[in-house]
């Protein structure tokens, strides 16, 4: 069974700070996806990383896929209150396997 461990589980920071959250596994994944989920909503896909070592940027968010395709990180620069939410990583094709998520709170 493929498992994804996310850390930290909770993160509360001040507006303007930088942060990194992690997604780790002992299994190799063909791709990893990052989602953000807000209360009362379903997860929304942010990015998919496919190639080992790949780095993708989405405005202030930087996603990296580990060389061995077992781990990934999400770095947010100058966090804003609008970044608040549950960040989930997911791997595999069908079915997707999700981590438990990192719950981020950005305080103004």
């Amino acid at each position: 069974t493929q498992l994804l461990e996310q850390s930290p589980q909770f993160l509360s920071i001040q507006e303007g700070e930088n942060l990194t959250v992690y997604c780790n596994s002992s299994s190799v994944f063909s791709s990893l996806q990052w989602y953000r989920q807000e209360p009362g909503e379903g997860p929304v896909l942010l990015v998919t990383v496919v190639t080992g070592g790949e780095v993708k940027k989405l405005k202030r968010l930087t996603f990296q896929f580990g060389d061995a395709r077992k781990d990934s990180s999400l770095h947010i620069t100058a966090a804003q209150p609008g970044d608040t939410g549950l960040y989930l990583c997911a791997g595999g094709d069908t079915p997707l396997v999700f981590g438990k998520g990192t719950r981020l709170s950005v305080i103004a």
């Binding site: 379903g42 896909l45 069908t94 079915p95 997707l96 396997v97 981590g99 438990k100 998520g101």
Partner: protein, 114 residues
């Protein structure tokens, strides 16, 4: 509609009752997925359909859970003899095809079993 819709948004039932949860996927999407998300957890796969047939139901926890998609569009997740442990948010997603296409999620149905 433009996105995946799920009804009802909230369902409160008593232990032992039967419930049905409905999912309307994005028009033209052939793959449809059901997930369950418990408090403090990520979504957990239950079942997915490619067209009308269940391609993988390995995530259904037991035989009280059943899902159908008779015309390849709308799907219904059915739970018999509900238990308090079934309380969770049930998420539906659809994608153009299975096997890696982006999954678009609905807002979920929050099920509470008293």
């Amino acid at each position: 509609g433009a996105g995946v819709s799920q009804t009802p948004s909230n369902k409160v039932t008593e232990k032992g009752k039967y419930v049905e949860l409905r999912c309307d996927p994005i028009s033209g999407h052939t793959a449809l997925y059901w997930y369950r998300q418990s408090l403090g957890q990520g979504p957990e796969f239950l079942i997915y359909f490619q067209g009308t047939g269940a391609a993988d139901d390995s995530g259904l926890p037991n035989d009280r859970f059943f899902a159908v998609r008779p015309e390849g569009s709308v799907s219904t997740l059915k739970i018999q003899r509900t238990e308090r442990g079934d309380s969770a948010v049930y998420l539906c997603a659809s994608s153009l095809r299975a096997g890696g296409d982006t999954q678009y999620f609905g807002p979920g149905t929050r099920l509470t079993v008293l």
